[in-house]
């Protein structure tokens, strides 16, 4: 295992020290692993808290700032944070208007956030949780763990964060967060595995011309293994998977082509070009986009595609000013 680290145990705290040094606009509690805006709680504003395992950077810490999150709690690598962290974050950013927890749908994240929400409730803080579950690779049913939360989380944090910044109340902010999640779908593809530092070796092994289709964001293998294929075909596979569950034709879309951490930007742009070509052929309009590394799996090579059906008001909220380490415009 070759990584820019000091040792497997110190990865997250060492990295948080770097985040603290890089971004004076963030307050980083390295020991308790809580990142908040340096400006503290915003009185009267609904606060947004998210969190999850580390290894997905810039998610979530890179999205703390004006127009997006108020706090983020990173767990250990690929391990959801503990309730103490979310409780501390929730108390730190509560401005009296309640707190939205944005939770990706994984058993660990859901359970730990649920415990934190109960504890915060005990302390008189109103908390509403919205769970993202956009990954079409996973079957959704009452009898399963349900779909994973992946790329849509970025959209939810941006759009709900914008509405909160405008002064909307907790139920409205939660409603728009749910709306974005419901209108979004994702599908991921891995060209390589990644190495969890504490494990020291790749989570799975892929042959020279094999890829994994339908991966999540924790370095886990996908639903099926396939032969590697040209970008144009991969775009079609991903869009077919997404489109089977979300009408794309003649829609105004927000499209993210996201790198898994080890994919160079030139390939992500190339992939985005292919996705646009396919969507155009379906009569869909890509009116907003993100191309880059936004929700990653350590050094994994590959990409995920996330598509959201926009409405005028979602587009307006997407365009609203945002000022975070990883997303910044309008300010």
């Amino acid at each position: 295992m070759k990584k820019l680290i000091n040792g497997p145990d110190a990865v997250v705290t060492d990295a948080l020290r770097g985040v603290a040094a890089a971004h004076p606009q963030l307050a980083v509690d390295v020991e308790n692993k809580v990142i908040t805006r340096a400006s503290g709680a915003t009185r009267g504003k609904v606060a947004l808290v998210s969190g999850g395992g580390a290894g997905h950077e810039p998610l979530h810490g890179g999205f703390v700032g004006y127009g997006m999150l108020d706090a983020a709690c990173p767990g250990e690598v690929f391990t959801s944070p503990v309730p103490d962290q979310m409780l501390a974050a929730t108390k730190a950013v509560n401005g009296g208007a309640g707190v939205l927890h944005v939770v990706k749908n994984y058993t660990g994240d859901v359970l730990n956030f649920q415990m934190a929400a109960e504890l915060a409730g005990d302390e008189g803080i109103e908390v509403v949780s919205v769970i993202t579950n956009d990954d079409v690779a996973v079957e959704d049913s009452l009898y399963t763990a349900g779909r994973r939360g992946t790329g849509a989380t970025v959209f939810v944090e941006k759009i709900a964060g914008a509405l909160a910044e405008e002064g909307a109340d907790l139920s409205a902010v939660a409603a728009v967060a749910r709306e974005v999640n419901e209108r979004s779908r994702s599908f991921g593809v891995a060209l390589s595995s990644c190495v969890v530092p504490a494990a020291g070796k790749p989570t799975f092994e892929l042959g020279d011309s094999e890829i994994e289709l339908g991966i999540g964001i924790h370095g886990e293998p996908g639903r099926t293994r396939a032969a590697h294929m040209p970008a144009a075909e991969l775009a079609a596979v991903a869009l077919d998977a997404v489109g089977a569950d979300l009408p794309l034709d003649n829609q105004d879309l927000l499209v993210m082509v996201n790198g898994m951490g080890g994919t160079p930007l030139i390939e992500l742009y190339l992939m985005f070009g292919e996705v646009c070509r396919h969507l155009e052929a379906r009569g869909a309009r890509v009116v907003r986009n993100l191309v880059g590394n936004y929700i990653t799996s350590l050094e994994m090579q590959g990409f995920s595609l996330t598509v959201c059906q926009l409405t005028d008001s979602l587009t307006r909220l997407w365009d609203a000013p945002v000022d975070t380490p990883a997303l910044r415009w309008g300010r």
């Binding site: 250990e76 649920q114 504490a198 799975f204």
Partner: protein, 216 residues
Amino acid sequence: MMDAAVFRAWIVSAAAVVEANRDHLTQLDAAIGDADHGTNLARGFTAVLGALDAAGVSAAEPMVPGAILTLTGNTLISKVGGASGPLYGTAFRRAGKALGDAADVELPALAAALEAALAGVQQLGAAREGDKTMVDALAPATRAFGKAVAEGASATDALGALAEAAEAGAQATIPMQALKGRASYLGPRSVGHEDPGAVSTALILGALRDAARAGR
């Protein structure tokens, strides 16, 4: 009849067996999960040992068994994260609560505590037997223990039945297709692998048998 020393010995022995199987548990998790189960539990039990030491030093009188398990559960919740943190944490908390203030634990009380633990896990995680989770070790173990106790078995025999059923339950997860937890994302590809949480449950219950045996 088991006293606080036995329960403390159980947790110490569980911590040791988790640490010894850390890489094994992580590798099981790599196959059908995200390669962190061993690391997670090892981190948690290390913290538990620290918490028990600290509590032992500060307390005016020694902790009762129920308090030991409650502290274990709280610490796991605070330190593990992931799916296993809240689930194991809740299991130990519920068991601790069930034991109450008793300084000595009789077998029927322990059986009730295990049932409370199982109920807590199922209430939180909604997994049923056959879903390929820790429930597949904990449920048959709880049943086997209850049955042995009801039939008047000795502590040694009842705890032996507990540990054996847990191990058999863990092994029985191999052919299962996961319906809960991370492994469920793999669908049919989850078949053929032992569930890491079921294996760690078997290890922890095995530690209980060993601690009780040594305490005798």
